[in-house]
């Protein structure tokens, strides 16, 4: 073995050791600063973790683009949902007067709000784009109460790391981290384009998460659960989507 290749071997060895220990340190730091998504296991874990970590570092406080009124889509589109059943029909007949949003988990005051109460809370509106992972999109004006306001009202405990939200459709549940939960554009929406939020678009209550793909903006929200341990829900992947093979984090 020549002198050069021995030297090369040693340098490569040192570089490899440094690289490996660098990875270990990076993984520890990432966990500590909440940069690892719940679905980080499995073969696609490294890519998901890189995407989520990079975007959390880059976009923690950034606002989704807002558009002018003239850019609102004349013909928005909503994917069909499965038949909602008799109970939903009864809600619909009574104009959702009995619709309630319950809030539980790590809160000082577990609560339940009627739709009328939610509508009486401070409102924010924004004209933003909703993008489906399939590739289509539309722009609409969304009006609702900021999720952060509801979290403040129920006394969210400081150790909360995720907000889980459930749909009236029993198998649909989602979760977001605090960067999105406390984000000023994250609204419990009850109006779209100045009118009642249509059922096809998630009415009476849809959580709009503006910096992620459409499937994080869950329709027919009935329950919020605040937690510091996302792993204990469902299969421990953070939401129903990864259980069906889709990424938990949909900032893309």
């Amino acid at each position: 073995m020549s002198k050069l290749s021995r030297r090369k071997l040693i340098t490569t060895g040192i570089a490899a050791t440094a690289g490996a220990s660098g990875l270990v340190v990076a993984a520890k730091l990432a966990r500590r600063y909440g940069l690892v998504p719940p679905d980080s296991g499995g073969i696609y874990g490294p890519g998901e973790t890189l995407t989520y970590a990079a975007q959390r570092v880059l976009t923690r406080h950034s606002l989704a683009r807002e558009f002018s009124r003239s850019q609102i889509s004349a013909k928005p589109f909503a994917n069909e949902v499965a038949p909602m059943g008799d109970e939903f029909e009864r809600h619909k007949q009574s104009a959702f007067t009995d619709w309630r949003l319950s809030v539980d988990g790590l809160v000082a005051r577990p609560s339940s709000f009627s739709l009328a109460e939610l509508k009486s809370f401070p409102r924010r509106r924004h004209i933003t784009m909703i993008q489906c992972e399939e590739g289509w999109s539309y722009i609409a004006e969304w009006t609702g109460v900021p999720l952060s306001h509801v979290l403040e009202r129920v006394g969210a405990l400081p150790q909360v790391r995720y907000v889980i939200y459930r749909s009236f459709q029993p198998d649909w549940w989602e979760s977001i981290d605090m960067a999105d939960a406390l984000h000023p554009q994250t609204l419990l929406t009850h109006e779209m384009n100045g009118g009642e939020l249509p059922v096809g678009f998630g009415g009476p209550l849809r959580l709009r998460v503006t910096r992620q793909l459409g499937y994080k903006s869950l329709k027919y929200v009935t329950q919020l659960t605040l937690t510091d341990n996302i792993k204990q829900f469902g299969k421990g992947l953070g939401s129903a989507e990864p259980e069906g093979g889709y990424a938990w984090y949909a900032g893309a």
């Binding site: 490294p46 880059l58 989704a64 889509s73 590739g135 289509w136 889709y246």
Partner: protein
Amino acid sequence: MAETPHPRHSGLVRVTHWLITFAFLALLVTGLEIVVSHPRFYWGETGNVNTAPLFKIPIPSSRNMVPTGYGYVLPDQNGWSRYLHFQSAWVLVLVALLYGVASLWNGHFRRNLLPSLSDVSPKRLATSIIEHLRLKRPGPEEAWSYNILQRLAYLLVIFVLFPMIIWTGLAMSPSFVSAVPSAVNVLGGQQSARTLHFFLTWALVLFLLVHVFMIFLAGFRSRMRAMITGRAPGRGPEPGPEPLERV
């Protein structure tokens, strides 16, 4: 160790070449799989089945709400396709960065890819184009260096097509553009970014097809061996005053 003065392609070029090849193929397959869920393209900010498309691809879709004219729906493969697409994109971007920085540093771009001034004359270019069109087999001198068209094609792929396809990909990310809105605004909108991303894919596929065809024309075994093991027929030029490796 055998007497090898220096390899045709450096170890870094060989390793990054194949990593990028595999990442690109994974991106291509998963990208087309994602397109199948909505094989319609638009220009501007938004588009959906209620709006007129710029064009559609006449294939069946994996989602039942897209009017395709076919009476059936393909199986939905978007979940793993999206996971693998983004994971491969990370591999491609990180490996390309390593290749790019190293090649600037060690002079690979300047030495092997930048055409000499005398080569970019219209006459030389015309000669090379005619030789290519006649499918003339390259001579032995080309076993150790790239011809002018090859250099220009590689520079186009490295400095235009790949940066553009990464950019248009990022411009579709709702989270990325919340931090860098101009990334999508200058393209004319999110759907424009998606359409451009699709066209850039075909530009890269065209490059891949021509590239592979040229490998066959030049001699599949010798060119593949050069890119896998680094060995090539004949002896390459001496490394010259520029040391190949900085130790």
